[in-house]
Symmetry: C2
Subunit: 399 residues, 2 copies
Amino acid sequence: MINIKEFSAGAVAAGIKYKNRPDLGIIYSPCPCVTAGVFTRNKVKAAPVIHGMKRLCGGNPYIRAILVNSGNANACTGAEGLAHVERLTGVAESALGLNPGDVLMCSTGVIGQPLPVERMEQAISALAPELNKDGLSDVAGCILTTDTVKKEAMRRFECGGAPLTIYGMAKGSGMIGPDMGPPCATMLAFILTDASVKPGFWQRALERSVEASFNKIIVDGDTSTNDTVLALASGAAGNSVISGGNDAEVLQVHLTEVLQELAKKIVQDGEGATKCVNVLIEGAMDDNEAEKIARTIARSPLVKTAFFGQDPNWGRILAAAGRAGCHLDPERIELLIDDIPIVKNGTGTGSELEAKAKSAMGNREFMAVLRLGLGKGRARITTCDLSTDYVRINADYRT
Amino acid sequence: MINIKEFSAGAVAAGIKYKNRPDLGIIYSPCPCVTAGVFTRNKVKAAPVIHGMKRLCGGNPYIRAILVNSGNANACTGAEGLAHVERLTGVAESALGLNPGDVLMCSTGVIGQPLPVERMEQAISALAPELNKDGLSDVAGCILTTDTVKKEAMRRFECGGAPLTIYGMAKGSGMIGPDMGPPCATMLAFILTDASVKPGFWQRALERSVEASFNKIIVDGDTSTNDTVLALASGAAGNSVISGGNDAEVLQVHLTEVLQELAKKIVQDGEGATKCVNVLIEGAMDDNEAEKIARTIARSPLVKTAFFGQDPNWGRILAAAGRAGCHLDPERIELLIDDIPIVKNGTGTGSELEAKAKSAMGNREFMAVLRLGLGKGRARITTCDLSTDYVRINADYRT
């Protein structure tokens, strides 16, 4: 059982979209937690995102609990949607014996439907007394939508003179396409640690780790209205407060690892995905151009359907790179699938190597390495294939 | 039968990819034609594109014939690919009794394979004596790849004191995603007219019409290595040479109409497409932002799968608009499917109107009109849905 000092948690079936499926959860801390948050940069923001951003930008970075639901995103719901967030966080605050502003809310699910607030109020009141130290995994389960598996990650390490733990849970399967630059995120993720940290440092640390993890994955390239990452540090480990220096670096490394593990799990569980593909660009003019090219390849429907068909159709990868609006000399291009070179000097290396690449593409995970031979720019984006199941899932989503 | 003074044409089965399917064509003019061309802006350009751009930028805008093949794009084929273009245009020039440089070549099909030049040489020699005035539709057929129907359009009108004709043929079904700004194009299209025009005017006229047609469609958003539009004006109509003024405007209008008709036929025949959707943005800050938002919606996999599922999932359309990086006030947004308002003030108008919209989305063509209420910016992009068949076609393309 996962257990992070001094958090308790639990989940319950509130009947938000489906019956008898846990869809509402609470994570609770007995003491105020230093809280960092990053949110979607989509101009269309869901009510809980608007509420959460306002709350965390208000100069008081301490919260006590997260209220989360799946089945309904509470997005594009206008003033009523915001009122629902106020009302439900208020109910949770009362039920947990907390002060106004101590609870943040996150939602995920269908856009444009009002929340079933009465049912949710009853669920919150029933759940609050049942929270327990082993309930985190139940919350990780109740936040799933089209996800097929729970996504959790944990690291234990020594830092600031004490053994620390960072635990994270995430959900996300479709509408996964990060907008760049903090503060932003690409899905729902809750990071919990017993570390003692300074608020300003903790916010910057989260932004940095998000940039190196969730902001480097693409499932379909669509950016959600509800993307939120919250990181709560309880301080229960009793370490010396971390705000910079070597301790900060150690914490950052482990935080990034947790987020990267969660990010990868999101891609592996991408809607309809059968493969996880690491697109690595080397030798671009600079890192920016490398990332633009990697993203263009990772979003190309023709590249992604070729991945699905296990077809080393390198022409599509080169064509996608060529339309990214970056420097490119076709005659210098090399392309490898894992370590199999299928393009040299901009043209194919023959059917034998292609056959080997085809076989490598049968694995659940492989690399596509594009070397441009122009400069030192590098980037890596992790993506998945585009399958008939992706279309089926999303053509039928609301029915 | 389509017949444009004084062009002759024909097609033959050269066995380039499939047996017994016409895949090589020639369009021929007995006199030099004023020729305009726009080409893909993809940095990875196929050999015939490199050859054609060089030929047309050389200061001599007169050509006599187009040699075209399907089944093989001759892209990413290095120096050998360029040598093949030289060799095959040379064979065509000899067979047609023309001078070096009189023939332009276009190719479409799989990337990265050498052309079967011997078979193509024999086919050219056999075809050259067989060209005839009724052969244009045969060429329109031989250029198809994953297309399911021929695409042709024609306008007859009075201009410069003579009755003129503009005829166009096009191919394109997948890898359809125009790069913006001339000179560029999105697929293969050949425009033939008997009009007498000045070269500089003709090139600018073609660029303008391409911008208003092919550059405003998206199937999958991938930009090809081979996109080419060639426009040949024979002058056989005997009109006074058009270079500006009212005649130029009349000609431009009809040219744009022909290109728009062909562009729409490409979307209607998009790979796996079941619906043609006109995405219209009104009230954006400016036209540029309107076009960015329209393109983001038209490329969104979640929006396109909802179109396929006939699901008026307006939340996905708003979410796509929100990530376009443009000005947006969610609370002012209105969305109509045809004339049915399903979003007002940024939120849904209820299940009754959604049911009507769902029914409208069952048609082969409908409008999605997004009104932002911010300014006077407008744009229109024509796109199609994303179906399971799109994935099937592209997962299996090379097998």
